[in-house]
């Protein structure tokens, strides 16, 4: 692939699907420094994946697949090495600043998502972004039945948490 074309595709994807990157980052990384680290990791993996994209799936599906795989690998590496962030000493987060959210319950929802295990987090993000069970199964390499079972449990768990916490004014 021509390097200029690759750069154009990457810039285009980053611009049009920026929200997707940040959703995955917020779901998998806890501290601002880790979020920045994960964002760079996902951006790098997406960059590397561009020559392999043949257009047989939607761009959103492709980016989600790459981003979720990168996030899961990153989480496992972070846990394995007990690595702290790559934050620069004495320098605060460079890239990311949370914009004021219209609904503060969004942050609550991300917090609940972060409490799930890696696969459940992926499923929750995909569910909330409207992917079908079949697409989720294909992206994560699990069966559709298993997706269905997991999704039912996740929905019940989140609904119950929301009744307990938001319903109680937390």
């Amino acid at each position: 692939m021509d390097p200029d074309e690759r750069q154009r595709v990457f810039a285009d994807w980053l611009r049009n699907h920026e929200g997707l990157f940040f959703k995955v980052v917020r779901a998998y990384a806890f501290t601002p420094q880790d979020q920045e680290d994960l964002f760079q990791e996902i951006a790098t993996q997406v960059w590397r994946s561009i020559p392999g994209f043949r257009g047989d799936s939607a761009v959103t599906t492709w980016i989600y697949r790459v981003a979720l795989n990168a996030a899961i690998s990153w989480t496992q590496k972070e846990r394995k090495h007990q690595k702290g962030s790559q934050a620069l000493e004495g320098v605060e987060t460079a890239m990311l600043q949370a914009a004021p959210v219209a609904d503060p319950r969004v942050e609550w929802l991300y917090e609940k998502i972060r409490q799930l295990n890696e696969v459940d987090r992926s499923l929750t993000l995909l569910l909330l972004d409207g992917f079908s069970y079949k697409e989720m199964a294909a992206m994560l390499g699990i069966t559709e039945n298993y997706v269905g079972v997991k999704i039912s449990r996740i929905k019940a768990h989140l609904a119950s948490k929301s009744r307990e916490e938001i319903g109680n004014g937390v």
Binding site: G19, F22, K23, V91, M95, V101, D129, L158, I166
Partner: protein
Amino acid sequence: MEFEELQTIWDSQKEKPVFTVKDPRLMAGLHEQREQSRRRLWRGEFAPMFVIGPAMLVGLGLMCAAFVAKSFFIERYPRDQVIMSVWDGVAFVVAIGAWLAVVVPMYLERKRNERVQKVFAPSLREELDRGIAQVEFELYVRSPARVFRIVSLVYISALIFVWEVARLNGRPAPRMLLPWPLWLPFLFVWFVAARRWLGLKGEGPGTIRLREKKRALEEMRSGLDG
């Protein structure tokens, strides 16, 4: 709250961007990365050569002086001792020239880069420009042509040094050194063959990472143009 209501909460974040970039902190981050690159190159590349180079030059100079002095006072030594010939003089000039051809360009290229890097960057754009220049410099330092040039010159100088040491110690033609010139081409052929056998093509992972970093910085810079 039912899941459908959670879906509505989730969908509300599509209306507004979730994150924005903080320019001053991005600048600080980029500046720190640039400084790390400069320190890494100094420690790993330039500082050792700036120590070894002058040491070798002094060593060669002293050897040359010793050889000249020996040639003047040859009557004090046994008759089978070697005296300095014109070719020894030529060899010393070549060896010293080789080291100078390594150290002087290194000094000049580093000085040129430092002149660019030490200028204060008051804006994000200029910080990105400095960052790109630093990555380009690091890529140049790693370039195969430069590495080959330095290794070849050091090799030639080292070979001459060892040869002249042997002659200074009384061996007129140290033939056991003759196979030495074959080592470098042999090592080069072995290295290329090993890379082919391992299926390694193109640039190494470090160079690829640097190129990706350069592209990312250029992308950020073009983003400033809107």
